[in-house]
């Protein structure tokens, strides 16, 4: 019996990227406890609730960027898509459009951006850094333009206080089973995309093109479709984060989601997703997002200044990768040759 247990444990540990993911979880616990010892309020129920809610955004962004990183690409347009989603949804609602329709329109805008990204990178073989740099500017521009270069009015002025409140509650302020809805939303997407990546053909192909795109192509993998699917996942996640930010503020902010694409890279990389493609688990991304948020939250709680926070986070990102390269001789090392 114990033998069987051992072998199944070994099987789990043999999954590529599992080591890095577990390291990130251990790091998470260490950081959390360390902050808690300095300021016991970190352990309070309310703080845990806040923590889960604020990590949700990073989790979604992390999923978005991890999908892209695993294909060996990058998506710089994530933050702009967040902003576009928030602005489109808020503009429509502040003018009295039904929230459901507003959400659908915002989602459609993001999906268009995802398809464009996928085609530029997958079909026209543009370097992803350049392609998504372009769409980053374009989508941010759209975010500015939808409400004529101004932040929107409160959404309640358009759809009324009742509908406005319920929109805000669903995406941000309300709770279910004692936990903020934001976290449940993120968790549902996490489970869906976790399944997609680890258990389906599409997921397998995403790893394959990140590992060796030529081999994948010669095996009959549709590289354009797979790349596009990955960028669509990124677009969906970004859209949801945009809606969350819109609900949080009760209005649309043109600068919403600024720099989020880089937070996504950080969450993924801390969790062991290789920016060179081919490896990484969303479980790691989960831990990475949590580490990120715990740091931000903990540093706040012990009264550290914003500048210090940024420095610490930067150090953690580099240290996570350095640890992998030095200790495990790891996956982040640049591919030799070719």
């Amino acid at each position: 019996m114990s033998n069987e247990k051992q072998s199944s444990l070994r099987k789990i540990m043999a999954i590529r990227g599992m080591g890095a993911a577990i390291t990130a979880f251990i790091g998470l616990i260490v950081i959390y406890v360390a902050f808690g010892l300095i300021n016991p309020a970190v352990f309070s129920g309310q703080n845990i609730m806040n923590l889960l809610r604020s990590m949700s955004k990073y989790l979604l962004i992390g999923i978005a960027q991890s999908y892209i990183l695993i294909t060996g690409n990058i998506d710089l347009s994530i933050g702009s898509m967040v902003g576009m989603s928030a602005m489109v949804a808020a503009t429509l609602m502040s003018r009295g459009v039904n929230p459901v329709i507003a959400i659908v329109v915002a989602l459609a805008c993001c999906l268009v951006c995802g398809v464009v990204n996928g085609f530029l990178v997958g079909k026209f073989k543009l370097p992803p850094f350049i392609a998504t740099l372009g769409t980053m500017f374009i989508t941010r521009g759209v975010a500015y333009m939808v409400n004529s270069n101004r932040n929107t009015d409160a959404i309640a002025t358009g759809i009324g206080k009742e509908a406005g409140d319920s929109f805000q509650n669903i995406f941000y302020y309300g709770t279910t089973f004692g936990v903020y809805n934001t976290f449940w939303i993120a968790l549902i997407f996490f489970i869906i995309f976790f399944f997609l990546l680890s258990k389906t053909r599409t997921g397998r192909h995403i790893y394959a093109i990140g590992s060796n795109i030529d081999a994948a192509k010669l095996s009959g993998v549709n590289v354009v479709a797979t790349t596009t699917k990955a960028y669509l996942v990124s677009a969906v996640c970004s859209c949801v984060v945009g809606l969350i930010l819109c609900a949080q503020a009760g209005m649309g902010n043109m600068e919403a989601g600024n720099m989020y694409e880089m937070y996504g890279v950080a969450a993924g990389v801390i969790g062991g997703v290789s920016p060179l493609g081919g490896t990484g688990l969303l479980l790691g991304t989960f831990a990475g997002a949590a580490v990120w948020q715990t740091l931000e939250n903990g540093l706040n709680m012990i009264g550290a200044q914003v500048g210090i926070q940024r420095v610490v986070i930067g150090v953690i990102v580099v240290a996570a990768v350095l640890l992998d390269v030095v200790v495990r001789g790891g996956q982040f090392k640049k591919k030799k040759g070719n």
Binding site: T200, R204, S211, L218, G220, G278, K336
Partner: protein, 511 residues
């Protein structure tokens, strides 16, 4: 001999500026191994890419199993049973064996992927081929030879009946080649047709039934292997008689130039002692994974040494990084040209100048194009590098010419010791002879040449003295003219007592 399963007639294919195939005929029968031979650039790979649908032909007809195909797509070719095993392995290194075998045609259960049934099928195929690999292994962790077996297994899993193998043995050890041949014979006995492309002509006798020879994009001839001789084959390939396959020059053995004492660096380099003299070529023989490459890397300062002294012209030199080695006159032409020898995306000029920037730059560190020009001209001339000009990307050159550029990098300096690590791998007969001449020239100039090679005939033909390694140690030293292949092979397989806590797997380590 079986019926004809592939028939290609009058195949033409042009690329901008080049006629790669010019009216080539090709036939393959079931249950045979056909060697497709020719120098690099003869059009073998292009022809096979036409057969596997990667390229579409400009002219000519193509039949597979009697069915005529117009524009063949890779997918159609695959469905017709054509599988190609590429020289540079095409595997997703992060994925497992099963995942690679089923890539692009994964089996689905009701909701998720049906991993267990794919694993089971993979295991059946591997077992059937008697390949000892777990289907759950991550491919990147397997030695190259095993990865190749996985490619073959993958081809069989899609029911391939026509297998094209492009240089399958170029990175295998003798034992692994034997394994591969066993599998090839098995496939042949099952009636599959196998196209075998190789530059290692010696190994053809073990498996090949017929040979088809191409030259400069044209079909030359097809012969039964039994009715021909190696010399005939080579004459057809190069279009001229090569008088000496292994040209040897006799030189007076002079004073000791180079000595390595008690070199240790990790498990694959243990207690290495040897010296090289003026006017001789020292060969390093051994099986793949014997530690020869590791030894050259340790000497050159790429990998750290644990201990050991190196003497050049009687003076001890400290080498901790490649720059130290270069400055003391020890240079290395590494094993993998494309990976370690050249910056393939840079021009020939930039490659040649790279290790000589101290010579071609003035005091301020500005490159003098005049000096650089001179250096390049000299290298191109001395080495007969075939290229229209030196601005061409070195990656676009043929294997033989690339090797010349690698060597050319070092000729501008007064090097005392030149180490060649597998300089002839993957290049054709004609170019090989040129490399041999090059080594002989160095030898005549009084430079110590160290020549690492896994191909026994060339070590015996070119080197004067042969040092044999096995498992990280030197197991013997013989004079080339007084030894036999058997003697070398015996030395190359003299493993230490295995009981000293070493696993079987350790011996198969890949380089």
């Amino acid at each position: 001999m079986g019926e004809i399963i592939v028939s290609m007639k009058n195949i033409c294919k042009s690329f901008p500026g080049v006629k790669a195939l010019d009216g080539v005929d090709f036939e393959l029968r079931s249950g045979e191994v056909l060697a497709l031979l020719g120098e690099n650039g003869a059009g073998k790979s292009t022809l096979m890419k036409v057969l596997s649908g990667v390229y579409t032909r400009d002219e000519g007809s193509l039949e597979i199993f009697g069915k005529e195909y117009g524009d063949l797509t890779p997918k159609q070719a695959q469905e017709a049973g054509v599988a190609i095993i590429h020289q540079e392995l095409n595997m997703c290194k992060h994925l497992t064996v099963t995942e690679n075998m089923f890539l692009g045609r994964e089996k689905r259960g009701k909701v998720a992927l049906d991993n267990s049934s794919m694993e089971k099928e993979a295991k059946e195929i591997l077992d059937d081929l008697k390949i000892d690999i777990s289907p759950n292994q991550i491919v990147g962790e397997l030695p190259v030879s095993k990865q190749q077996m996985v490619e073959i297994a993958k081809a069989l899993s899609i029911h391939a009946k026509i297998l094209i193998m492009d240089e399958p043995t170029s990175s295998l050890t003798a034992r692994e080649i034997e394994d591969l041949f066993r599998i090839i014979r098995k496939l042949k006995s099952e009636g599959k047709g196998i196209v075998y492309i190789s530059h290692r002509l010696e190994e053809l006798q073990h498996i090949v039934d017929r040979v088809t020879i191409m030259r400069d994009g044209q079909y030359i001839t097809t012969m039964n292997f039994k009715d021909t001789t190696m010399d005939q084959i080579i004459a057809h390939m190069v279009g001229r008689e090569i008088k000496e396959k292994f040209p040897r020059v006799e030189c007076e053995k002079g004073k000791k130039i180079f000595e390595v004492r008690n070199l240790n660096a990790g498990r694959m380099v243990r207690d290495i002692n040897f010296s090289a003299y003026e006017g001789e070529i020292v060969g390093f023989a051994g099986l793949m994974g014997a530690g020869r490459t590791e030894t050259t890397r340790a000497i050159f300062g790429v990998d750290p040494k644990e201990s050991g002294e190196i003497y050049v012209d009687g003076r001890e030199v400290k080498i901790t990084c490649p720059m130290d080695a270069i400055k003391s006159g020890v240079v290395l032409a590494p094993e993998d040209r494309k990976k370690d020898g050249l910056c393939t995306k840079l021009s020939i000029r930039h490659n040649l100048a790279l290790p000589n920037l101290d010579i071609v730059c003035n005091k301020l560190g500005v490159v003098s194009s005049k000096t650089e020009e001179k250096l390049c001209e000299k290298a191109v001339e001395d080495l007969k590098i075939k290229t229209p000009n030196v601005e061409i990307d070195s990656g676009n050159l043929s294997g033989g010419n690339q090797q010349k550029v690698v060597v050319g990098k070092w000729l501008a300096r007064d090097s005392r010791v030149v180490i060649f690590d597998e300089p002839t791998r993957g290049i054709d007969v004609g170019a090989k002879v040129e490399i041999y001449h090059l080594m002989n020239d160095l030898k005549k100039q009084g430079i110590a040449v160290v020549f690492v090679s896994s191909e026994m005939p060339e070590v015996m033909g070119i080197a004067d003295r042969i040092i044999v390694m096995c498992d990280g140690r030197i197991t013997g030293e013989v004079m080339a003219r007084e030894t036999t292949q058997n003697e070398i092979l015996t030395l190359a397989t003299t493993f230490e007592d295995k009981k000293i806590g070493k696993s079987e797997g350790g011996n198969e380590e890949h380089e």
